[in-house]
């Protein structure tokens, strides 16, 4: 079902990426939070950019390779295979950058794209608000237009990498008379602006991946609006579709998780246990299903727009991850409470990932919202 040519090209690409990552990628680099600095991660991002791997789906004349979905999928698989660091500028590369490329002025492209790729600007996302989760269109962060300045006040929440991000792209209601999805603008805000305050959220899993971002009358130049005033919703919908598509994760990471689960099973003496074979076998099957699904979507070129594929994808991987980590929790049982002086980081990390998988059923459009999208927009069921 593939052509021989495709395979040869794809295979050569895979080989190149695998070799480069093997030579260059740091493995088991602690997170910026653990390190207390994002410097090493910025350095790694710069190295990726120098080699042309930072944003391969971007246009060639903006530092990308115009990579197809299939080529991106291969890169992602190899990236996970190499155990390379989590991409700290993913919000920039996946959302801010593509939005600038599609809706930005030449000046905006000039100003933001290169620093983004060089990781001089780490970007974070300001969409959700405390009272606007699933119902994003009810957002209330205000932008008062005063001549060439927009004065932003309000609160965003569930912002990742906020503690060290340089810029935030935020949805701001610039028309005070508007409601729902009208009158919202897409505004780029320098995180060092006076009046921006970041408060980390202490999560149930002990981490602080997310933060609240407060805007207290933050003065933002009018030139920082992408697109027209009031075009923010349209831009956000396009951006969210990009976020939910395939290519951000591959089945390879799940194979890594399953290798850990297998170790847990072995430690519990369950190597030869048929019940364990069935439950881990179903999870292996689920990972391979994700492989073929993602490849089908990637090679059919239908990715990247909000719609059925993106919703199927989000629903599948998030439900799968919860099953996966929940199974491991069962295998670990009481061993989850580890000797404080002899902690197995794999076990601690598994428990954190378990909780994070629960959060993944909520963020980026809760799974209930995804089901609504599928039912109404794909199956055509009445609203």
């Amino acid at each position: 079902m593939r052509t021989a040519t495709d395979t040869a090209a794809v295979d050569a690409w895979r080989r190149e990426v695998r070799q480069w990552l093997m030579d260059e990628a740091p493995t088991s680099l602690p997170t910026p939070e653990e390190l207390g600095t994002s410097d090493q991660h910025r350095a790694w991002e710069r190295k990726l950019h120098a080699a042309g791997y930072s944003a391969i789906h971007w246009p060639v004349d903006h530092g990308g390779r115009d990579a197809s979905q299939e080529v991106r999928m291969v890169f992602q698989e190899e990236y996970e295979r190499a155990g390379a660091p989590a991409r700290i500028n993913i919000q920039g590369i996946m959302l801010a950058g593509p939005v600038i490329l599609r809706y930005g002025t030449p000046e905006q492209k000039q100003r933001w794209l290169e620093p983004l790729l060089r990781a001089d600007h780490i970007w974070c996302q300001g969409f959700s608000e405390p009272d606007s989760g699933s119902d994003l269109a009810s957002l209330r962060t205000k932008g008062r237009v005063e001549g060439n300045t927009i004065v932003v006040s309000g609160q965003k929440i569930w912002t990742s990498v906020a503690s060290f991000a340089d810029w935030i792209f935020a949805l701001v209601r610039t028309d005070p008379e508007s409601s729902r999805n009208k009158g919202i603008s897409w505004v780029m805000i320098d995180m060092t602006s006076p009046g921006v305050e970041v408060r980390p959220i202490h999560q149930i899993d002990g981490r602080s991946d997310f933060a609240e971002v407060f805007f207290n009358d933050v003065a933002v130049p009018r030139a920082n609006v992408v697109g027209e005033l009031g075009q923010g919703w349209e831009i956000a919908m396009a951006a969210l579709g990009m976020e939910r598509g395939v290519g951000r994760r591959s089945y390879v990471q799940y194979l890594g998780n399953l290798a850990q689960a297998k170790q847990f099973a072995t430690a519990a003496g369950l190597d030869d246990d048929p019940a364990t074979h069935e439950s881990l076998g179903a999870l292996l099957g689920g990972a391979i299903v994700y492989r073929h699904f993602a490849n089908r979507v990637a090679s059919s070129g239908k990715n990247g727009e909000p719609g059925p594929t993106a919703a199927y994808n989000k629903l599948y991987w998030s439900e799968y991850q919860t099953r996966l980590f929940e199974t491991g929790m069962g295998l670990l049982g009481e061993r989850l409470e580890q000797p404080a002086d002899d902690v197995d980081p794999q076990i601690s990390s598994w428990e954190r990932e378990y909780w994070y998988s629960r959060a993944a059923r909520i963020f980026a459009g809760s799974n209930e919202i995804q089901r609504n999208i599928i039912a109404e927009r794909v199956l055509g069921l009445p609203r």
């Binding site: 495709d6 090679s299 069921l381």
Partner: protein, 350 residues
């Protein structure tokens, strides 16, 4: 390794769709069930090239690869065709062309291409039976050490099976002792994997039909003054089914499209395909009846055809648990999961 379908494959699937919509059994269920089977149906399938598709051109066929039949096989499920078209064109023909002694292939392939031979396959094991086991011109019985060919006149013993899915007419076939046999345990494993993977493709077609019928019914059936499809409970039920079906289809296409790979990879892919198709089919089945309510529980309603067929194919060629266990054993045996099941470079895949 991508699993895109080519335009030609889509066109061939469309052709199957048109023909099967016309000749499929849903048009007159009662007549079908009363045994007045549509005797001309096989000829109609043959006429448009569905039967001869995979037969090599040298033997009078179209010479297509089995993988070109992926959408056709889904349509076989979608239209609940009872005849063993997939067994014949997708399982038996490649087996005969690849592994049968030349004389055997020369004898059967042209007959198949001409639409004069219905071929079916019986899984290994003491309780297995074959679709159309009684009527088929040739039954390929999978044994531990290879396959046995049981033509109609070969003295094969046939005992009918009782099935809720009467149209499929399963029967157990015991080969006559002097019947032609070929292949070895490897060949038996290969044809088993092949039939398993193809059953997954057919099952996905059944699931798609169960979903489509449910969506259609949910749009028109009204309760409490509104279409039941406007209730979120119904929406989410069907959205979950749609997600399951659309995510698993590619795994079945993949499994039937890798006859160039080694046996181990094919067995693994077949287990992924059948496990996932069965899991999706169970959800589609459960929710299709729930959305239809009582009316779906009647034999008069065509839904019953797919409900029962689906449940049968879930059980045949290995249940979900059976295949999950195989996958789990593979997982336990692998030294490095990423090496074993992750992306490979071309020379490694050989």
């Amino acid at each position: 390794m991508s699993v895109t379908l080519t335009d030609e494959q889509r066109d061939f699937g469309e052709l199957a769709r048109e023909v099967l919509a016309k000749v499929g059994p849903a048009r007159d269920l009662l007549q079908e069930r009363d045994g007045v089977a549509r005797r001309g149906r096989w000829a109609q399938l043959a006429e448009v090239g569905l039967v001869s598709a995979t037969v090599p051109e040298a033997h009078g066929g179209l010479g297509l690869g089995a993988r070109d039949m992926a959408l056709v096989a889904e349509e076989v499920g979608y239209f609940a065709l009872p005849e063993p078209l997939v067994e014949t064109a997708c399982v038996a023909v490649p087996l005969l062309a690849r592994h049968a002694p030349a004389g055997v292939a020369d004898a059967w392939l042209p007959r198949i291409a001409e639409g004069r031979a219905v071929v079916t396959v019986q899984p290994p094991g003491a309780s297995a039976s074959a679709t159309f086991g009684q009527e088929a011109d040739l039954v390929i019985v999978i044994e531990d050490g290879g396959v046995a060919l049981c033509p109609k006149a070969s003295g094969r013993t046939v005992s009918a099976r009782e099935s809720a899915d009467v149209l499929r007419r399963p029967a157990r076939v015991e080969p006559a002792s002097e019947t032609i046999r070929f292949g070895d345990a490897q060949v038996a494993a290969e044809v088993t994997a092949s039939a398993t993977a193809w059953t997954a493709v057919v099952l996905n077609g059944i699931s798609r039909r169960l979903l489509d019928m449910s969506v259609e019914y949910a749009r028109i059936r009204e309760q409490f003054g509104r279409p039941i499809g406007s209730f979120q409970a119904v929406k989410h039920m069907l959205a979950d089914v749609a997600t399951q079906i659309e995510t698993v289809r590619a795994s079945a296409w993949y499994a039937v499209g890798i006859d160039d790979q080694d046996l181990e990879a094919r067995i693994f892919a077949a287990s992924v395909a059948k496990w996932s198709a069965t899991t999706a089919a169970a959800a589609a089945n459960l929710n299709a009846l729930q959305v239809h309510g009582g009316i779906g529980f009647t034999r008069e309603n065509p839904l019953s055809l797919w409900l029962v067929r689906g449940k049968k194919l879930e059980a045949l060629w290995g249940t979900a648990n059976f295949h999950a266990r195989i996958l789990g054993e593979q997982l336990m045996q692998a030294d490095d999961l990423v090496e074993a099941f992750g992306p490979t470079l071309a020379e490694q895949a050989a």
